[in-house]
Subunit: 331 residues, 2 copies
C-alpha cells in the first residue's frame, strides 16, 4: 500500500484547516499565535489510545476529544480559544480514512469553537495512536485553582456524572458479556445520550467570560467531581461542605441511578465530565449564574468553602458520605 508522505498528508488533510494567517498554510516549522488581550493562557493534554479513549472510538470523537479537553482547561481559566497545535503520533496501521474523518471532525470544531489550527507535528508511532494538543487562549486575567476563600459558594456548570456513566455504556457496547445490569435496563435514548457525552464532551467555552468576571477559583472536572474539588481545596488551602442532593444530574443519569443507586459513587468520582467547577463570593453568585445562563448554560451551587481542611460531602439525611480514594486516575 502506497501512503502519502508527511508533507503530502499535511497538505491534503491539515493545511485546509489552517485558516489563520499565523499558521502560514502549515508551510513552516512554527506559527504565530494571533494577538489578543490579557493573559495568554496555554494548556497541553495528551490522549493515548487504550488509556484515554477506546482505539475503536470514531475518529471524529478521538480528535474532537483531544481538542475539547484542552478547550475545557482554557474555559476553566477564563480564557477564550485563540488557536491550537496538533501533535499526531500515527501507529503503523493508520489509514487515510482515519485522517479524512479526523480532519472533517476537526474542521467542525475549529468553526464551532472559533479556534484555528496553527501548526503541529506528525510522527510515526510504533505504539498506540497518540494525540498531543496545545491550545492557546486569552483571558482578561487567568483564574487559578488557588483563589477559593471561606464562605465562597461552590458551583458547577451543566450536569455531573454523564461522562463516567457514558464510559460504562461504551465499555458495555464493546464487551456486552461484562455489561452491568443497569446498562441493559436503561432505555435506548439515555444510553445513547450518555455514550455521546463520553465520546463528545462539550467544553464550556461559552462560560469563559463569566468565569473570568466572577470566579475566585476555577478548574474543569476531568478526573471526577469529588477528587477535583479536593484538588481545588488543597490548592486554595481551604475546606468545603457539599450536598450530594444539590449535584445537578441529567435525566439520563437519574435514570441510571434509579436502576442502581450505588452508581452515585461513579457519578461523583468518575471522570470525563468536562464541566466547570468554580467558586465565587456569595454576594456575586446570582450575577455569575445569570451571566452563565445568558450563554445557555446552567450554573448550580453544590456547597460552600469552609476554613480549615477537607471536604465533607453529605447525603439527604445530612450524614457525611465516604467516597474512599474518590478519584479517577488516568495516569
Amino acid at each position: 500500500m502506497t501512503r502519502p508522505s508527511e508533507d503530502d498528508l499535511i497538505a491534503r488533510y491539515f493545511a485546509p484547516l489552517a485558516i489563520s494567517a499565523g499558521a502560514d498554510g502549515l508551510n513552516d516549522d512554527a506559527a504565530v499565535v494571533p494577538p489578543g488581550e490579557g493573559d495568554l493562557v496555554v494548556t497541553k493534554d495528551m490522549v493515548v489510545a487504550g488509556v484515554h479513549f477506546f482505539p475503536d472510538d470514531p475518529p471524529s470523537s478521538i480528535v474532537k476529544k483531544a481538542l475539547r479537553v484542552n478547550l475545557s482547561d482554557l474555559a476553566a481559566k477564563g480564557a477564550k480559544p485563540a488557536g491550537f497545535l496538533l501533535g499526531l503520533g500515527l501507529p503503523p496501521d493508520w489509514t487515510e480514512a482515519f485522517l479524512e474523518e479526523s480532519a472533517r471532525g476537526l474542521a467542525q470544531d475549529i468553526e464551532v469553537f472559533d479556534c484555528p489550527l496553527l501548526g503541529g507535528d506528525t510522527v510515526k508511532m510504533p505504539g498506540p495512536l497518540t494525540l498531543s494538543v496545545t491550545a492557546f487562549g486569552y483571558a482578561p486575567r487567568i483564574v487559578r485553582r488557588r483563589g477559593a476563600r471561606p464562605g465562597d459558594i461552590i458551583a458547577v456548570t451543566g450536569t455531573i456524572g454523564d461522562g463516567a456513566l457514558g464510559l460504562a455504556v461504551r465499555a458495555a457496547e464493546r464487551e456486552p458479556a461484562k455489561a452491568p445490569a443497569w446498562v441493559a435496563g436503561l432505555d435506548d435514548r439515555h444510553r445513547a445520550l450518555l455514550a455521546l457525552r463520553y465520546m463528545f464532551p462539550m467544553p464550556r467555552v461559552r462560560a469563559a467570560s463569566a468565569v473570568a468576571a466572577f470566579a475566585s477559583a476555577s478548574m474543569d472536572v476531568s478526573d471526577g467531581l469529588a477528587g477535583d474539588l479536593a484538588k481545588l481545596l488543597k490548592a486554595s488551602g481551604v475546606g468545603a461542605t457539599a450536598a450530594i442532593d444539590d449535584v445537578p444530574l441529567s435525566e439520563s443519569a437519574r435514570g441510571a441511578l434509579a436502576l442502581d443507586p450505588s452508581l452515585i459513587r461513579t457519578v461523583l468520582t468518575g471522570g470525563d465530565d468536562y464541566e466547570l467547577l468554580v467558586t465565587c463570593p456569595p454576594d456575586r453568585f446570582a450575577a455569575f449564574a445569570s451571566a452563565v445562563n445568558a450563554e445557555g448554560l446552567d450554573l448550580t451551587a453544590i456547597g460552600r468553602i469552609t476554613a480549615g481542611e477537607g471536604l465533607v460531602i453529605s447525603d439527604r439525611s445530612g450524614q457525611a458520605v465516604d467516597l474512599g480514594a474518590g478519584r479517577f486516575q488516568h495516569f
Copy 2:
C-alpha cells in the same frame, strides 16, 4: 514496586523546574506565557523512542533533544525562547532514575537557554517513551521559509553533517557487528565528538536576533541540508546553486570523509544538524555574518538563490552532483 502518583511525580521532579510565575508551580491545568514583544512564535515537535532517538540513549540526551529541536525551530524563525510545555508519555517500564536524570538535564537547559518550564502533561503510554514539547518565543517579526529572493546568498551556521555521522557512530556502538569501516578507523576523540553532536544538538538560539534582523528566509536543518534547502526553495518559489566545497565541515567530519569519501552523501542529506539555513540579500551578508560571529558562531555562505526552480549542487570540478531523493525522512 510502588510508584509515585502523577501528582507526586510532578511535585518531585518537575515543579522545581517551573520557576516562572506563569507556571504557578504546576498546581494548575494551564499556564500563562510570559509577556514579550513582537510575534509570539510557537512550535511543537514530538519525539518517540525508536524513531527519533535510541531507547537506551542517556535520559538527559533524550529530554534535552526534545527541548532543543524546538528551540532550534524558534531560533530559525528569529525568536528567543520564552518557555515551554512538556508532554511526557511514560511507557510501562519507566523508572524514577529516568525521571531524576531527565529533570536534572532539563534544569541545565532551562538555565542555559533561559527557557522556563511552564507546564505540561504526564500520561501512561502503552508504547514507546514519547515526548511532546511545545516551545514559545518572541521575535521582532517571524522569519518564514518563503522569503528567499533571486540573488540572495544562502548560508548556514556551524558545521553540517556531524549529526548524521554521529547517528552512524551511535548505531555502531549499539551494534558493533554492523559498524562501517570508517567508524573503526576514526580516532576516539572524533567518534565521541560526532556522537555528542547527535545526542546533544546545540540549537543556535544565540543567532536568533541576527536572523530576525537580516534573514530574508530561514529554517533549521533537521532533515538534511539538501532536502531542507529544497523545501525552503519550494516555499519561496525560487531555485539555487550551491557548492559542496563551500559547505562547512567539522574536523571530525573531514576525518570521516577522508576515510570514506562516499560519506559526503550522508553529510549533505542526513538529518539532525540543527544548524540554521538562512538567506539574505548580498549587500547585507557581511553585517549578518558579523552579527552571528559576535555571538560566537560561524555563518558560512554556501550558494546563491536563482530565479526559476530546482537546486543545483556542484562539486569541486563544477559538475552537478545528483543526491537522489536526498532527504532523510523521520516520518
